[in-house]
Amino acid sequence: MSIQEQYRKKAAELLSSGEVKLVIGYGAGTTPDRRRPLFVRSADETSKLHLDAACEANLSGYLVTEGLLADRKKVGIFLGPEGIRSVNILASESQLDPDQIVIMGFNREAESVSALEGSNVRDFPAMLAALKEQAPGAGEQALVERIENMTPEERFTFWQAEFEKCIKCYACRQVCPMCYCRRCIVDNNQPQWVQTSSHTLGNFEWNLVRAFHLSGRCVECGGCDRACPVNIPLRLINRRMAMEVLDAYDHFSGMSPDQETVLASFKKDDPETFIL
């Protein structure tokens, strides 16, 4: 049985037994190469679920939709490794109860998908430990290094050209499971902390504010990068911050629901040499 069939069946069982009230998965998209988020509430709709290498989106952001988990009922969800990591972070930041989430995990390879054993977010320690060992991912290393080797002026020019394209549609924020604030700082207009104008300064402000807020939290699902309608390589910023956090604190985000947040935890014995 293909993993797609297996998970359709599992989703149907979960829904008909009443264990979950909803399954969030992937459905067919407008074109054959596209998949779109799909919300399934009854067993007879589960045949619409798809699972293949085109299922790229990290769906975990939908879990923090206002009110979704308030009734304490469970929700089933298709998640790749990045999705599992983001559920861990959402749990560690008290945004959801991980025991309300029934995971149908999968690993995406170039052409196919394979199942990840387990259904609770605590069931994947080995897989996550292996991910940490591999980090940072090799995929973009060349480009990251090229930017590293630039002079500060060259680097500024590079990002200036990229951010000049930004139209402040906030797709990067909206698609990001870690951007769950009910009211983002840029939407706060009394006072207006961050300029809303999409000029060079405003675009820099926005993208840098986001980079800082995601440091030690981003799971590198690439959602922002894929969502960006003007193709700004946003993953590079988050990758760089993730490398920094790994290097400085040996912190790889989303390892468990009990993991301490790297930049929001206080310890008495924290070295604070930079303050004194």
Partner: protein, 337 residues
């Protein structure tokens, strides 16, 4: 006799237009995004792009535009107005959907208050549109009763000749004639065959949709929640839409001096309708998506007798979660029948 503009004469055309004081702007791929930008020579143009990622809208209605600078002194308030640069320009290679969209927005920007910024730019621009001979899975102009060669909003229509050597020239306005007078000597007479225009399938029934939308019974329909459940509430569809025109005023600076700007805004954002009291009449994403559809296919046509959509399909093509106008109107067509 039909006049033809040969592709290899484009450089000479650009030189002559520049000499006559026109800026020439065309589709280009730069830094992984396709958009309209000024060109010096023909080789900078990418005329094979079916539709640029970003629309020509930003050339008339920029994403952020300074309106005036203010300084509040002890005795007086100084203001200094900013106006568009005031240069003649030719947009070479826009597509019929983008050009139509500018004409669709004309009544909007002129019905009660004439928006100087918009009309000055409109009046100084010659739209040279290339009819589409290719389309993709998201193009939907025919569903909007437009076509891959709609003349709406264009000053010149160019129709590709077979073999890609050039275009048949069709003059549509006085402004277009004036610009092409400058290059008349470069045009050839030809009997070359035109390439057939793209075959864009009809994706939904607009009349059925409009009737359904106009029925007040459907305003509170559960349909809106279902169709928009995966909407993440970003502004991609509205900002990439050639007809979406909402804006916001922002004063940047402080109480004593600063700049007032006109910035794109989007009905997808929760903040768009947020009242000072904290009450938000469109508090859910489904009510925002409903507003977008209602505005385009119910309220706007009610006021201006045109749909606020030219069928470019960018809302679906570039949506991060594969939503868009096409899917919604297809589902309405099914529901209503």
């Amino acid at each position: 006799m039909i006049q033809i503009l040969l592709r290899d004469k484009l450089d000479d055309c650009i030189t002559r237009w520049h000499a006559a004081g026109y800026d020439v702007i065309g589709p280009q791929k730069n830094n992984n995004v396709t958009r309209f930008a000024p060109v010096e020579k023909a080789s900078e143009l990418d005329l094979e792009i079916i539709l640029t990622d970003r629309t020509v809208k930003e050339l008339f209605f920029p994403q952020t535009e300074p309106m005036f600078r203010y300084r509040i002194g002890k005795q007086a308030i100084d203001t200094e107005e900013y106006l568009p640069p005031g240069r003649k320009r030719i947009i070479f290679g826009s597509r019929p959907c983008d050009a139509s969209a500018m004409a669709i927005d004309d009544p909007l920007f002129g019905w009660d208050f004439k928006d100087t910024y918009w009309f000055q730019r409109r009046n100084e621009t010659v739209m040279v549109t290339i009819a589409c001979t290719e389309s993709d899975d998201f193009c939907m102009c025919t569903s909007l009763k437009l076509a891959p060669d709609s003349p709406l909003g264009s000053d010149i229509m160019l129709r590709p000749v077979a073999g890609g050597k050039g275009w048949h020239v069709e003059l549509l306005s006085e402004r277009g004639r004036e610009a092409f007078d400058r290059i008349e000597a470069l045009l050839d007479d030809s009997a070359a065959e035109k390439e057939p225009i793209a075959n864009v399938p009809k994706r939904f029934d607009l009349d059925v949709c409009r009737e359904w939308l106009a029925d007040p019974e459907n305003f509170e329909s559960h349909f809106w929640k279902e169709i928009s459940i995966r909407c993440i509430g970003c502004g991609t569809c509205t900002f990439l839409c050639p007809t979406c025109h909402c804006f916001d005023f922002q004063d940047e600076g402080d109480t004593y001096s600063g700049i007032r700007r006109k910035n794109w805004d989007s009905c997808s954002f929760a903040l768009f309708t947020m009242h000072t009291s904290g009450h938000n009449p469109r508090s859910t994403q489904s009510s925002r998506w409903r507003q977008r559809i209602m505005h385009k296919f119910n309220y706007f046509p009610g006021k201006f007798s045109m749909n606020s959509c030219s069928g470019c399909g960018r809302c679906s093509r570039q949506c991060p979660v594969d939503m868009g106008i096409t899917e919604t109107l297809q589902e309405i067509t099914k529901t209503a029948k």
